[in-house]
Symmetry: C2
Subunit: 419 residues, 2 copies
């Protein structure tokens, strides 16, 4: 607020002055919902039972998810958010994500897993995503050679070649509702089918989302966290904050950053508008990015996510040192508070989201709040948050290059230094 | 260039017009070097033998590096850049990095490693970094209980409490030269001692840096890749490109992004100036960030890093499909080219760095080129690239909070939604 960060801040009167824009954004969002455009709001009302695979799928030692962007970022985020960054080292079921066309990535995964003991989820809404198909074609050939059965593969898709193959080969297929956009799809079959197999309590996840949904339907911006979050970001975007930094102070939420990054960039970055999302992580980025945030250009709004209770903790012992007797969780949370205070004193706008603990329920709440925030923000900015028209051209060029098998590889560069 | 991206681009005449700024930046950098301020340029002339530990340190099954920011990001970057993202799963020697004050991170690592079989590197230039000390204090207590010996710990530091403890406990100590700043220190003892133990060929790494050093000493901007890279970024910064995106198309370079991110942010982000670095990764971020880069605000300059030869490759087979017969490496490299072309056609300035392959030698080159780029860029922007004055205040507040043992935990927020 202005009283804290000075002239560049916002005041209660400023917020009051936005009433029209807020009301319009709220109304348009609910209109879209009524027209059936917002599948992400509908899917959380479904019974979770429909996402559960039968017991014979539970015996696999390895799980491999193949997908790109919205087909995989949400699953990675929830898996790591619940199970932690070293889940594979600590659990008997090992989970891998194949989310790039880098051949070294595929090679490494194939060296680690035994394909016959691997349950492969292939996820693509269109069913035609090029990297997903490429990886799947290679996997499929190897799986056949190794005598894998139809149970080894589960398809999550709403069409395209992928579904065609799925039907022909008698793979289990889960539909993705037409009105659920990729980056808003983690709480649909896209995320919930694989997450359920990974031992995530999807019921609790959905229950968090449903509770948040109630709050996000309130018309009063002061009681609607998503509407308020959108409004604050919108007002600061108009005050020149072209960058939105998200900075959780817990390792398990780093992939939440990467999920948010797609949601915010792809939904809002169009027609020359947009706010560039930046993924940061506390406390470590205090040793990397904080100098810039504090003393660089004043073009950022920062969101902290803080978790009060960690699953584990340690007491620090070293006689005579000021750390003696402190807990490690106290240290990280005081680092967040120190950073928040110094940013505020330097006039950098910042928001804190405080979670009592981080589990499926609070994560479900957080995810849904950000989905609703993005929907509201799109309406405020007057962009369509649910399409991504600009990325088609690059795909076309890539396909032409591939079909020409190498033509155009040597591109005329403007300027080349050969060394 | 202007001919490609239009009015917002630069022309050869524009570059000629910068001659004074370029010459001054070059001269000032070399003056700093002559005055002994640029330790990062000096250290690459040292004989690598001085970084090698004796054979008894080679028998440990686990390696754990404890450090923050510049003390650890470079080591992580080179380790992953050389050994790959699944090195721990594929090699018998397991490497862990403890680079946060998150208690869950420490807990997980302690569950995985056996401390008696673990070589712990504790790295902090000042020897007083709070997270590093906190983690080390906890580890130290546990190591004593488990009967670890002095060989279990190696200290890399130039002072502070850490060095004091090292001397008292008779740990092996490596010095960090005073004139080497943390984020420029990967090619000093900070990176080279642990990397050598991890099986990285540090001789090749340094040899790449030395070869690049020769190129970076050329006065002619058209033949000096670092000076040109700095100039291009400087000119586009002045044309409103407040964000610098780095986007390698290979998984192994993702941690290079994170290293670059500190180098660029902390060196240049001061006095209200700076350019916000953004870490991206191709091809996957085409499904996350590309929409924003293409059709969002025109505030970005993008650097691609492309590797021609991957260590492994696969041929894609699916009759009748346009991917049939292509290699996966072709796909990812054509995706880069498609993205480059469409960005260019949309007027987004972009640079491509092409590596024949990615190994210690080319990585050494790349690292050193970015260090020199940053040094030159600092001089062009007229900021001191080698300090980080703004981060001290937050550390002070955190320390006060810790000493008050909880005082001030409840901060008065401007605005709170409790849910």
């Amino acid at each position: 607020m202005k009283e804290k960060i000075g002239i560049e801040g916002i005041s209660l009167e400023d917020i009051e002055g936005m009433r029209n824009i807020v009301d319009t954004a709220y109304r348009r969002t609910m209109e879209r919902y009524d027209k059936g455009e917002l599948g992400f709001m509908e899917v959380i009302q479904k019974d979770c039972e429909c996402y559960r695979l039968s017991d014979r799928y539970k015996e696999f030692k390895y799980i491999l998810v193949v997908g790109m962007g919205g087909s995989i970022l949400g699953t990675q985020m929830v898996y790591e958010g619940v199970k932690g960054v070293y889940a594979n080292e600590l659990n008997s079921k090992k989970v891998f994500f194949l989310d790039n066309s880098d051949p070294e990535l595929l090679y490494s995964i194939l060296k680690i897993v035994a394909l016959r003991e691997t349950l492969v989820f292939v996820v693509s809404k269109s069913g035609n995503t090029v990297e997903t198909l490429a990886n799947f074609f290679i996997l499929r050939e190897k799986m056949k050679k190794e005598g894998c059965r139809e149970d080894n593969v589960v398809i999550i898709s709403s069409g395209g070649l992928l579904k065609e193959i799925g039907k022909r080969e008698n793979y289990k297929i889960f539909e993705i509702p037409e009105n659920v956009v990729g980056r808003f799809s983690v709480l649909s079959s896209v995320g919930l089918v694989p997450l359920s197999c990974m031992g995530v309590d999807i019921g609790k996840l959905i229950s968090g989302a449903r509770d948040m949904d109630k709050l996000c339907r309130r018309e009063d911006v002061f009681n609607n966290p998503a509407l308020m979050n959108a409004l604050i970001h919108y007002m600061f975007l108009n005050r020149g904050k072209s960058i939105s930094v998200i900075m959780p102070y817990i390792e398990r939420l780093y992939r939440f950053d990467l999920w948010y990054r797609q949601l915010w960039a792809e939904s809002l970055g169009k027609d020359g508008k947009g706010q560039t999302p930046v993924a940061a992580l506390g406390a470590k980025d205090q040793h990397s990015q904080l100098q810039l945030y504090l003393d660089g250009p004043k073009d950022k709004i920062i969101t902290f996510i803080k978790v009060r209770k960690f699953k584990e903790d340690f007491t620090i012992r070293y006689k005579g040192h000021y750390l003696d007797g402190c807990n490690l969780s106290q240290l990280i949370n005081f680092q967040q508070l120190g950073t928040e205070r110094v940013l505020t004193s330097m006039g950098v706008p910042n928001i804190s989201i405080v979670l009592e603990d981080l589990d499926e329920y609070t994560l479900g709440k957080l995810i849904y709040m950000y989905e609703m925030t993005t929907a509201f923000m799109g309406e405020m900015m007057e962009v369509n948050a649910f399409n991504q028209p600009a990325v088609e051209e690059g795909k076309k060029i890539t396909r032409e290059l591939l079909e020409g098998k190498g033509k155009g590889e040597e591109v005329v560069k403007d300027y080349i230094i050969k060394i």
